[in-house]
């Protein structure tokens, strides 16, 4: 959609009927002006149509979903040094569909005062890790990743410790923030 240059009209003049020189010059100016104006109008039309359509196409792709607090359970139920598995589920909006998202998290406390909530997704390639009570470690079934009770990498390929999820304690209950991705 670009504005044409004046040569068009000169060319147009070549093929047009032979007018008087005066007349022809006047025509060239008028046509050049009309040409510019046509280009401008076309650009306006294209922009007016394209801008909303581009935004429409982008849609909600980059829109963050609202985070929500989910109650895991009472803190006194969690034995110090022994991660406790919770399955959280919450309604999620998948485009125009409403779905339920489920996820496993581990709540860990070393001393009954401080708590952390670990995602069960291995930081290597996303397999679900599990707590092995015998060896007191998180084990990844896929590529042998091993994490400590605090989520630190002990062995294997995982590049980062387990993801700690935002949490809070209210009224003796442990809450975790979910769905804010």
């Amino acid at each position: 959609m670009r504005v044409h240059s004046s040569e068009t009209h000169e060319h147009g003049e070549d093929t047009a009927l032979p007018w008087g020189e005066e007349e022809a010059r006047e025509l060239i100016t008028r046509r050049r002006f009309l040409g510019y104006l046509s280009g401008l109008l076309s650009a306006v039309i294209a922009a007016a149509l394209a801008l909303p359509l581009v935004r429409f196409y982008i849609g909600n792709a980059f829109q963050a979903k609202p985070a929500r607090w989910l109650k895991l359970g009472l803190t006194r139920e969690i034995t110090p040094g022994r991660p406790k598995l919770y399955r959280i589920s919450y309604p999620d909006q998948d485009g125009w569909r409403e779905t339920v998202t489920r996820q496993d998290v581990y709540a860990v406390t070393p001393d009954g005062r401080d708590y952390i909530v670990l995602s069960n997704i291995c930081t290597h390639l996303g397999c679900p890790i599990h707590w092995d009570d015998k060896v007191q470690q998180f084990l990844c079934p896929c590529h042998g990743g091993v994490f400590s009770a605090e989520g630190k990498v002990l062995k294997g390929p995982p590049p980062k410790p387990l993801i700690q999820m935002t949490h809070k304690i209210e009224g003796g209950a442990l809450y975790v923030q979910a769905g804010g991705a």
């Binding site: 044409h4 147009g12 429409f56 109650k71 409403e98």
Partner: protein
């Protein structure tokens, strides 16, 4: 159409390049591209069409139609990015487009109004071509292709109409496809073929989707390419010249920029119009299609109105043949006439006045078409005009979200009655129902109009609800409110199943609703869990999952019972006071007569005192600790009659007329004291025993009897016998046979206890 063409580069084409003193890199690239593709040269050749003198503003409709087609393609492709052609997802995805996607409503509006605009512009284009006589030799095929373009455009409109899968779409398609069924013999097969199955459903939707986004657009694009290339080859007709005279007309114009400028102006105006319509009148989306709804009145879209009206002008006796003639034969004949027109009209004149036959026929057809369209638009249900009061009432109706449960000819919730049925109503009944929805149905879950609605608004609402009848439709604003509900709330079984959803995770409901929201319906209906033995179980349930309670109740709810009313270990000592001050709280759980389960036998010490029944009136101030005010009326129903105020009443009441007692007292009232006809003590042996009782003290006897009562039996003998009776009895009593002594004493036996074998003969008086 020109605005989509790359105009600029043509000037930098190879031919022009020779004049350029120093072609820069950009021009060199363009020249290379043109050498490879010839695109620039072709475009330039296309744009440099010389135009006959007189071609101008009347000739813009073709380009405008093409612009609208391009606009429809752009918006359509992007709508397809989100749209799902399935009955489960179609409406939901369109609703998502409308309310969730940025500019969704605008893009849908552009596409919706673009369809109508395209039909109008295509029709205007045809009229222009007709009246300018441009369909004549050598351009007959342009006209024929144009007619097919019109038909495909109509096909696009018809198939696109169903896609949102709302009530309007569904029912319009039901009617539209049924028309094909009027064809004799094969009608059923055509309808079924169009629908893809016997009824409109998933297969109809996918079929229409395929036609709308693939087959028809491809067909249209192909026809347009042919149509435009033919226009370019045969040129735009020289206005008002006879067939064959065109070459004499000078070609003074150039398609670019002379005509392109006009096209661009008209296209911009068209786009502006579409934007205005899309923003001011967004594309409607009614409630999701409901094949079972019986109240919905389908209306054809405006471009089918002439045909719709035509059907009514066939006599009913023609039956299906009438419909066949109106819906199929006449339109088919009209299309056929249009197709053959350029081949049967051999008149070389292009000026309308010089070809009166076809011009008259066209004008008559146009007038008939417009008349039928206008009549069709008018002939629907009588238009509803609301008074100012009713209009305000309609707003209150929406403010109170009545449409969440009630529909009006569809378009609302399905829980309540469809108000279009059974109207208009008596305002008195409406008032009664709105004030107390349970008045005619105790299990009604409809909430009463809240007290926050003032009297004016209430009377406006009553006025509006009263007049609603079958002509009414749900106000347009209603759908704008409704789709903000999550999709789950639109599932057909949501109303029945929401209790299970609440139980799964009540906190989800709490994200939007206040705890008291449930009460707006459940005031008259407890949750099922609360029905049996709930009071016993609720302590454990509330300890386990307090969030469940919080769905309906707020935190302070527990305190209504568990504050001072907590039935703990001190309760037995406190309950008397609580029962006195907050009796209504007790009544939340207990029945009115619950106290008597304990207090019937366990009377307080005071009540066990002798003569309590007779003296209790003096201590009335203390009674309210246990008794309600109404307790007195158990005995003292009404005021005491004057007769009873007499101190001697207890003694004398036995002589009263029993009919008079019955005025206040029930039959068994006497047994309060008498336990039958006489006191219990007065049994068969009483006559022999009563002396001893009387001797111990006469107070008890005197409750009922006067001292003279004894004389009734004992004649002149003083009773009980005074202390000196042993000495004086020979003087004071008569011992003659049949005397009063022998009622109690056996003459021979009793006297001989003192007097030996021969008692003295009684002294003669």
């Amino acid at each position: 159409m020109a605005e989509k063409r790359p105009l600029g580069p043509e000037s930098d084409g190879p031919e022009q390049g020779r004049d350029a003193p120093a072609p820069d890199l950009f021009r060199r690239v363009l020249r290379w591209v043109d050498e490879q593709t010839e695109l620039i040269t072709l475009t330039r050749e296309f744009m440099e069409e010389p135009l006959f003198k007189g071609v101008g503003w009347p000739h813009v409709f073709g380009s405008a139609a093409l612009f609208l087609f391009i606009s429809q393609v752009c918006t359509g492709i992007l709508l397809a990015v989100y749209y799902v052609p399935s009955p489960d997802g179609a409406w939901q995805s369109v609703s998502y487009i409308n309310w969730q996607v940025p500019f969704g409503s605008l893009v849908r509006g552009l596409h919706h109004w673009g369809a109508s605009a395209m039909l109008i512009i295509v029709f205007m284009h045809m009229l222009q071509v007709f009246f300018w006589g441009a369909y004549k030799r050598p351009r007959q095929i342009l006209w024929v292709v144009g007619v097919f373009l019109l038909l495909v455009t109509l096909g696009l409109s018809f198939t696109g109409y169903l896609l949102p899968w709302d009530q309007k779409a569904y029912w319009a398609t039901v009617v539209g496809t049924r028309i094909a069924g009027t064809v004799p013999l094969v009608g059923y097969y055509i309808t079924t073929l169009v629908r893809g199955e016997a009824n409109i459903g998933a297969l109809t939707l996918t079929r229409f989707f395929g036609l709308h986004v693939m087959i028809f657009p491809a067909l249209l694009a192909g026809l347009i390419i042919f149509h435009v290339s033919q226009v370019r080859r045969k040129g735009i007709t020289a206005p008002w010249r006879r067939v064959g005279d065109e070459e004499a007309v000078p070609r003074t114009g150039l398609f670019y920029p002379d005509q392109v400028f006009k096209d661009a102006v008209v296209s911009l105006l068209a786009l502006g119009g579409l934007f205005a319509m899309a923003l001011l009148r967004p594309a409607p989306l009614e409630t999701i299609a409901n094949p079972t709804s019986t109240g919905y009145t389908p209306r054809p879209e405006w471009y089918f109105l002439p045909n719709f009206e035509l059907l009514k002008h066939f006599p009913a006796s023609w039956g299906q043949w009438g419909e066949f003639a109106g819906a199929i034969v006449i339109p088919a004949v009209a299309v056929l006439a249009l197709l053959v027109l350029p081949y049967i009209d051999h008149n070389p004149e292009r000026v309308p006045q010089r070809r009166p036959l076809v011009t008259t026929a066209a004008i008559v057809s146009l007038v008939v078409l417009l008349y039928l369209g206008a009549a069709g638009a008018r002939s629907g249900p009588r238009p509803v005009t609301l008074s100012l009061k009713e209009e305000k009432g309609e707003k209150v109706f929406l403010d109170l979200r009545c449409q969440s449960c009630h529909s009006i000819n569809g378009g609302g919730g399905m829980e309540g009655a469809d108000l279009a049925l059974g109207g208009p109503r008596s305002p008195d009944l409406v008032i009664e129902k709105l004030r107390d929805p349970t008045y005619n149905n105790p299990r009604s879950v409809m909430p009463a109009v809240p007290s926050s609605v003032n009297d004016t608004d209430f009377s406006n609402l009553v006025a509006y609800v009263s007049v609603i009848d079958s002509r009414f439709h749900m106000p347009n604003e209603a759908t704008e409110i409704a789709p903000q509900k999550p999709a789950s709330h639109y599932e057909g079984n949501w109303f029945a199943n929401h209790k299970y959803e609440v139980r799964k995770d009540p906190s989800i409901c709490g994200q939007c609703h206040q705890p008291t929201f449930c009460q707006s319906c459940h005031r008259n209906r407890l949750p099922d869990s609360h029905l049996n033995d709930w009071l016993k179980a609720h302590a454990g349930a509330s300890r386990d999952r307090p969030e469940y309670c919080l769905v309906c109740h707020d935190q302070s709810f527990c305190n209504t019972c568990h504050g001072k009313l907590q039935h703990d270990s001190t309760w037995m000592h406190r309950h008397q006071q609580v029962a006195k001050t907050d009796r209504k709280d007790c009544l939340q759980c207990h029945q009115e007569d619950y106290c008597t389960t304990c207090h019937r036998g366990a009377t307080p010490v005071t009540h066990r005192e002798k003569g309590w029944l007779h003296h209790h009136d003096g201590k009335a101030a203390d009674c309210s600790a246990c008794h309600t005010a109404s307790f007195c009326s158990t005995c003292h129903e009404g005021a005491r009659p004057l007769s009873h105020a007499n101190r001697d009443w207890v003694h004398s009441h036995q002589t009263a007329k029993t009919t008079e007692c019955a005025v206040c007292h029930s039959e068994n009232f006497c047994s309060n004291c008498h336990h039958g006809a006489k006191p219990k003590s007065h049994d068969a042996t009483w006559v022999t025993r009563h002396g001893g009782v009387a001797k111990a003290g006469m107070q008890k006897c005197e409750t009922c009897h006067t001292s003279s009562f004894c004389l009734g039996c004992h004649g002149g003998v003083q009773m009980p016998h005074p202390g000196d009776w042993t000495l004086s009895h020979k003087d004071k009593a008569s011992f003659a046979a049949g005397s009063a002594c022998y009622r109690c004493h056996d003459y021979g036996k009793f006297c001989s206890q003192c007097h030996g074998e021969t008692p003295p003969q009684p002294a003669s008086k």
